[in-house]
Symmetry: C2
Subunit: 306 residues, 2 copies
């Protein structure tokens, strides 16, 4: 048995699963990952997938090891639905909304944290980001303000300490993918998308998106026209599309952006792009370590358990 493991923290998203064994002193004892994300699993495959990742663990006789999970495992299509907590809400209360799926194996006692929803004519949902937001608050006790979480479905949230006041979702990452793959723009986005003209295209697209976010449906066609008329290559076109979408997203949140740096929580490459675009309007983006943040969130959620 790995005596040092006190409990296990799990971030279970749509496309993969990451688990960290946490020692009694809060340190990370081991780290495991699996490609068995929620999107690939039927309901009865979640328990085996978790056991597979944690199979090397043996809790003390007569006890079960706590496993605290955040993310899409708690969705309606996931392992066991963890009903949303409604914003505005204090994220320190997340654990009290956790649900407890059964694992026949006998060694583990999993709990899945809820997502956060928003109603009152401004319907929205998040699952996973709420735990990152709690982690950000735990690591930065004096922080209040706007947080940007770039991704497939980017979130922009307003935090007051551990309290989430309001949030929105932009389908930016998914839009890039569906347009690249399924629209007429695919003809301009086939080949080497990461060539030397990508940065120039990105800057041009971001400038257009920042200046005219209301014209997105029209600007998108410039990708196609640019390759037909101006000989734009796939790398320029991919950069333009990416910049246009991120520029539009940032511009639509401009009224919320103040003088304080905006923490960016997401993949390092994506956070750099958002930081660049924020810089174009004179704002500061502050990329965070997303792994550190989600771990801090799971620890904080557990620490506030009743």
């Amino acid at each position: 048995m790995d005596n040092a493991v006190d409990w296990v923290a799990v971030d279970w998203g749509t496309s993969n699963l990451r688990a960290w064994g946490i020692g009694a002193d809060g340190s990370v004892v081991f780290e495991k990952s699996s490609p068995k994300g929620m999107g690939k699993l039927a309901r009865d495959e979640f328990a085996p997938a978790l056991v597979e990742v944690l199979d090397h663990l043996t809790p003390e006789t007569g006890t079960r090891l706590d496993v605290l999970i955040c993310g899409m495992a708690g969705a309606k299509q996931g392992w066991l639905e963890a009903p949303y907590v409604e914003a505005p809400t204090d994220l320190r209360g997340l654990f009290s909304g956790a649900v407890r799926p059964v694992v026949d194996d006998g060694r583990f006692a999993p709990a899945i944290l809820p997502g956060v929803c928003q109603k009152a004519g401004d319907d929205n949902v998040m699952r996973g980001e709420e735990t990152q937001l709690l982690g950000l608050a735990a690591l930065n006790p004096d922080f209040s303000g706007l947080v940007c979480m770039p991704g497939t479905h980017s979130k922009w949230a307003q935090l007051s300490g551990t309290r989430i006041e309001h949030f929105s979702t932009a389908m930016t990452g998914e839009m890039f993918e569906v347009l690249r793959t399924n629209s007429v723009l695919r003809h301009s986005l086939t080949g080497d998308l990461d060539g030397p003209a990508r940065a120039e295209g990105f800057a041009a697209g971001a400038a257009d998106g920042l200046e005219h976010p209301e014209r997105l449906l029209g600007m998108l066609f410039r990708v196609r026209a640019g390759s037909l008329l101006s000989g734009r290559q796939p790398d320029w076109c991919a950069g333009y599309l990416s910049g246009l979408l991120i520029g539009t997203e940032v511009a639509s949140n401009r009224h919320l952006i103040g003088d304080a740096p905006v923490p960016l929580v997401g993949s390092p490459a994506l956070c750099r792009l958002y930081q660049d675009v924020l810089g174009m309007i004179g704002a500061d983006g502050a990329p965070q370590d997303a792994t550190e943040i989600v771990l801090a969130g799971l620890k904080a959620a557990r620490s506030f358990a009743a």
Copy 2:
């Protein structure tokens, strides 16, 4: 032989082909259509597709029947590329830019009209709509102003008589299709999309799009959140998505819309939706008969031939 046919007018789009036999007096002698649109044909299949549709015709001995074609048959991926004419331009000059593919059959002398492009940092292209615009101008000699052409790639053009001054393209129709088919929104858009709640969803989406066109990337996610949280059914969601996209498109052109009615050239169902949305901002949309318009355009292009 059909003695009454003086020449043949053809609208050859991506998805189908329509042909009209025109008599010496300008009347329509016959009408034919074929599903053999440009998108389904290799280069060497265009001539046989045309002959198939016109096979019942026998020109007088020693002559060939003129066939005047507009649309995607002149695209780079079409039958024979008809290089774009650059806007601003007088559309009466379209015919002088026509190209002449060869048909071995010997009975037909086809000419394909060019599309129109726009450069100078505002790259854009159209193929087929330029002929409709010429038709609109021919049928309404006193008209100058904004024209809206709803569709997969909607065009908004500014006409001064037969002169096209400027135009833009909005990927509205294609966006609806790719999001419905390929994005996370598909989960909310499966089932009966034409149920009784579609009109209510459309009105709600159009209002959101008109009010905040700069927030499209965020508003889109309301489709998903609305079905997760508020029990919105697929018909409401489809209406919301359609309304949101059209509302956003109309709002992004608001600075061009004046007191005069905006002619709408497209399918009757789509034109009605645009008319409704224009009405929500106190503007008048004036649906046109698109078939009459394209025929008038082909006739006008031919009448201005050198």
